[in-house]
Symmetry: D2
Subunit: 208 residues, 4 copies
């Protein structure tokens, strides 16, 4: 994307929004169904889960608010929307389905917000923005999957809600690497700063 990058640079896209004073960690859809290529998984998703483990531990040590999202549809399909017409397998993600359970290595701790959602964005049709505002969060660090799906949508909404947003490049994964890379490009140019989980930890440690 050399030439593509040149025009973004010429137009002064891709400036940093930076790390603020009050971060939160939002982990999107790291549930069993996204670890298995027979369902929604594949690509580098398992690697991203592994990279998120030390980040979650760090967030807890630092007392950052932590959110875990799950996709959950009603058993009777009464709340299925047009998204399920495009991607019918979404309807298998019900409250008790094994596919919709958060992976054990990232199991939520008490007080962390387990947010049920039906859309791509963790903010859409939920009260996430207010949950973060109540905690006076100014920076949202995003991990999870998939980069080209719910991560992209969540990052765009996080920015639109006026949170400085950090997309953790090694803590987000996708079933296919082409879209993963393409979306990181868009995200970095327009919506969020790109950092590894380790870089975020180091930046925060250096600051405090």
């Amino acid at each position: 994307m050399t030439d593509d990058a040149a025009i973004y640079r010429a137009q002064r896209f891709g400036q940093a929004s930076g790390l603020g004073a009050a971060p939160a960690l939002v982990i999107v859809d790291f549930v069993e169904g996204f670890t298995d290529p027979a369902h929604f998984g594949g690509g580098n998703i398992r690697d991203a889960i592994a990279a998120t483990v030390p980040l979650l531990a760090f967030a807890r040590t630092e007392g950052w608010p932590v959110v875990h999202t799950r996709v959950v549809y009603a058993d009777d399909g009464s709340d299925a929307g047009v998204f399920t017409w495009k991607v019918p397998a979404l309807k298998t993600l019900t409250e008790v389905s094994p596919l919709s359970q958060i992976v054990p290595e990232l199991a939520p701790a008490p007080g962390e917000y387990v947010l049920r959602k039906k859309g791509a964005s963790a903010f859409f049709g939920t009260d996430l923005a207010g949950w973060l505002a109540m905690r006076r969060v100014d920076t949202v660090a995003v991990a999870g999957c998939t980069t080209s799906g719910c991560i992209r949508a969540t990052v765009v909404d996080s920015l639109q809600h006026n949170f400085r947003t950090i997309c953790l490049t090694d803590c987000v994964g996708d079933r296919a690497l082409g879209p993963h890379e393409a979306n990181l490009f868009d995200i970095g140019q327009k919506y969020a700063d790109l950092m590894t989980g380790a870089a975020l930890r180091a930046a925060w440690a250096a600051r405090t």
Copy 2:
């Protein structure tokens, strides 16, 4: 993206949501600043504007609700958000700036909704969803720019609001073709049906 496409096919992504009974046309950010590579333009944006001209004429003939969006920030920057930290030039798009005026070949007609927005999505922080619901729209056809920016964000939100969504492949444009193509792939797999403007016109004509 052959291999990438294979995993999406195996997981049954990319089904059609289809053309409903009541379409609207949403034209995103075809304003002067996006026609000029010295500002936000470049790539295939001018071609996309040209392709949208007959589509807009068709929508008017058929009586579809029509929306035109503009990015508009206050002169004093009082409403500038984090988006303007990532992309500082956005702040040049004020109410009276020549850069923020809709291109003359797509000038709004009376009764069409000229929607001011500050985010990427035409739905974010606006009353667009309710404007469409009031007209009992069930299908949103999206033209405009840029494919990797405000089109992508608008398409995702249109789906999340439960409108069948159609992304008009030749009526959307971007300053760079790599992101344009990559985003059309994502959009078609997950959020909207991909059609040319001519194909949409033909499908509608065949239906009625």
Copy 3:
């Protein structure tokens, strides 16, 4: 409120928005905890439940989309907001609490949307607007409790989302009759048409 009503009349408030072509019935928070004065109940709430029974039967016969809301907070209080500071007992309304179960005479049928909410409005932080838009609803009839709380908030949001809104005067109830009456006045002047459940059934029957 004679004099009060006069100024509203002089300023031409209180016009009818009318009954459209596609109604839905939204039943707000008719759960056990609101039937008991020891928790959130009292006043005319039990009467309002009784009046809603034939309306729900009618809605089902006519095939109207039906929504039932429940207030549900997480067991660990992780999602409690400022509303629970003003009204601490809200936190008792958890997924399995007897207080948060829909009353048996209005038990949801399969396919009806059981919507969990934490705010006053059934639309806030939920996907209700899109659920209704997907069904091309143009009129929202509101039953439930309390008139001065979640009914008022839901009615205002229903109007803001551009649904014609009907507040069913005998199918909404409140723990105290002063606020019940005062809110019906405001609602009728600004946000919704006031009808009894029987009048709505008659109006619909006369129409079809």
Copy 4:
């Protein structure tokens, strides 16, 4: 409302949410059309404007973020919603109408956010929540009119967005006093703390 108040007290409504560390002042619809009983005015609205003057001066001295809202519809009525069916005169409030100009004694200063809205709530269909979150506001003090209309709706949404909310009893006004009082009762019980402008200034001064 003695008996009414008793049941609210028994059910532990009406707790204080308190004054936080970072307030903002939101002044709702103090525009010319609401000062004139021939349009939307009457009652105690002029008194409320007068009481807001020293509060606005105080907010500026303290550096609080300040928002002024105006109701603004398009000249051609293209964006008129169902609200204008209930209250047709709303459509007279256009960008250049004298009725929609902020009263001179509360004229906005540079950097203060002049927010155009079409709904009752200042938050609905706008980016106000994100504007406040970006400034890490935790408390929203609300002045303006009318108590039974846009104040009530704004206060409810402010709470739902998880801002501690303060309704300034002498800085909010209504065309009719019955609804003014009735809404203050509801607001104090469920959504916001009730304080005079002077009491808020004193509480803030005592704190810092």
